[in-house]
């Protein structure tokens, strides 16, 4: 039983990171209708910026905060400069643009920082101690990550559901033309969506580097797939769904792999294919995901 609980806890820990990146993906989708393939690479890039700051003497937490702000600005800038011209155009065009960003940012990260082994944060400012809860070890770091992730989603939920700004963000994504007519500055709403997503992605990247060292340019590649699976599972439109999806996926993957010892299917190599199956199954069976709303349209 403790084994089971331990695996669940471990699954929640890895799942919170998937959830955070999934949250970023959902924010952009919700505010611009676009799935940003470059979300992971952008997170990597900003994490490297944080590393550079620390390398130049800035304290870890200061760098953390500064990076989140920089990421926000970068997201806004990206949307205004690169994405704006093709918004409203065919889906394929925007997909290709974000794929272009994926390739570009990945290349830049490799080029600027190279693939040396670094651990980040250096000197471990994250607490390493663990609590023992009935035989199950829970690390403070994992708890902290989970806590921040939950906090983020609560904030975002409040933003979208209860503030005027959140309503404007939603409206701008759903019907830009009608939004303009009621006075919403659609352009800035879209930019805001990208900025928020980039900031959240930066947090995901920083967590990833802390939880699974080392920091390397390709670290977010698999995480991106897990985040997609989490977002789709939870419902691409639902921030809460992203969290639920992420945690569920983390736990699922861990349990499947652990209990595979009985099945002997060597499933630990198949984490990514399993994530793919999740994506495929959800999209085919219930595209709105667990918490998304199946949209009804009267024709």
């Amino acid at each position: 039983m403790t084994e089971f609980a331990q695996q669940v806890v471990a699954g929640l820990a890895s799942g919170s990171i998937y959830a955070t990146l999934a949250l970023a993906i959902v924010i952009i989708y919700r505010s611009t209708g676009v799935v940003n393939f470059a979300q992971g690479e952008l997170a990597t890039f900003t994490t490297f910026i944080a590393w550079t700051l620390v390398d130049h003497g800035v304290g870890y937490w200061g760098a953390f905060a500064l990076t989140v702000l920089i990421a926000f600005a970068a997201g806004v800038a990206l949307e205004r400069v690169v994405v704006r011209p093709v918004e409203g155009g065919p889906v394929l065009t925007v997909v290709m643009l974000t794929i272009g960003l994926f390739i570009l940012l990945g290349g830049l990260s490799n080029w600027i920082w190279k693939a040396e082994v670094r651990s980040f944060p250096p000197n471990r400012p994250f607490p390493t101690s663990t609590w023992d809860l009935g035989g199950v070890a829970i690390s403070k770091q994992d708890l902290g990550i989970l806590g921040v992730t939950l906090g983020l989603v609560v904030l975002l939920y409040l933003l979208f559901q209860y503030t005027k700004l959140g309503l404007a963000l939603r409206a701008a994504a759903l019907n830009p033309a009608a939004s303009r007519l009621v006075g919403v500055r659609v352009g800035w709403m879209l930019a805001l969506g990208w900025g928020l997503a980039a900031a959240i992605g930066a947090v995901a990247g920083l967590f990833t580097a802390a939880a699974s060292p080392p920091l390397d340019p390709n670290m977010m590649r698999p995480i991106l797939i897990y985040a997609f699976a989490a977002a789709v599972l939870g419902g691409l439109e639902s921030p809460i769904g992203a969290i639920v999806g992420g945690l569920a996926l983390g736990v699922l993957l861990n349990l499947v792999v652990t209990y595979d010892t009985h099945l002997h299917l060597e499933l630990d190599r198949l984490r990514l294919p399993i994530a793919f199956l999740v994506i495929l199954t959800v999209l085919l069976v219930r595209p709105a995901g667990l918490l998304g709303r199946a949209v009804v349209r009267r024709v």
Binding site: L174, R180, R293
Partner: protein
């Protein structure tokens, strides 16, 4: 000075010019109709005012030039546009649609909502319903209600009767008339249903191929048989 003036307005969609030197004006407190057949440029006229289409020429609101402004700014200046096809947010609730209508209001949502409920009492019980699941007539009413939430100085109505049953259309125009009489709301309405529009307005313009072919008091236009036959189809 009229509230709204269009002076020699051209408008184009890409390389195609749709309006040729359209001039019209709407006085404060008036209900003015823009009539004409399909493709005459009626909708384009409203879109030019709202900044949704590329245009040249002069458009003035209360003497101030607004031509070429972005739609967000035009809304900010007090013009509420109910577009063709209603332009509601189908995936959002009725309440959220109304909240968006009040987006620009400084004093919040409540005052506008009170007023709108007076004209559309049924909205209250449907407030959580997804707007896309309302019937066509209800959606049109919602669109109008949303426009009113902003307490506009000028209401632009684009083909409100499109696709609606006559009884609903009559009710719609009745409400518009009431808004105009009781609150002095200025209205510019584009309509294919010329008969109804002429009955509900004080003046009218008839567009043909992007130009103003005819203008005058609605009563006169309605009585003039040759005008009716030539331009209005009845």
């Amino acid at each position: 000075m009229p509230l709204l003036e269009l002076d020699g307005v051209d408008a184009r969609y890409g390389p195609v010019q749709v309006l040729h030197g359209v001039s019209l004006d709407v006085g404060e407190g008036e209900v003015v109709a823009v009539l004409g057949g399909n493709g005459a440029g009626k909708t384009t006229t409203l879109r030019a005012i709202s900044g949704l289409v590329a245009q040249s020429g002069e458009i003035r609101l209360d003497g101030e030039r607004i031509g070429g402004s972005a739609p967000e700014r035009v809304a900010r200046l007090g013009i509420a546009h109910v577009p063709e096809g209603r332009g509601i947010f189908g995936e959002l609730s009725v309440l959220d649609n109304l909240r968006l209508g009040a987006y620009l209001r400084r004093n919040g949502f409540a005052p506008g909502y009170e007023r709108v409920r007076g004209y559309f009492p049924w909205l209250e019980e449907r407030r959580d319903q997804q707007a896309g699941t309302l019937s066509g007539g209800e959606q049109q009413m919602l669109a109008l209600a949303r426009a009113l939430m902003a307490r506009p100085r000028l209401l632009l109505l684009d083909e409100p009767s499109l696709g609606l049953a006559p009884i609903i259309v009559r009710e719609l125009f009745r409400i518009v008339g009431e808004l105009n009489e009781k609150e002095g709301l200025t209205v510019l309405v584009v309509e294919q249903n010329a008969k109804l529009a002429l009955r509900s307005s004080s003046r009218a313009y008839v567009l043909e191929a992007g130009r103003v072919a005819l203008e005058g008091p609605s009563g006169e236009l309605a009585e003039n048989e040759s005008v009716r036959k030539a331009y209005l189809g009845y």
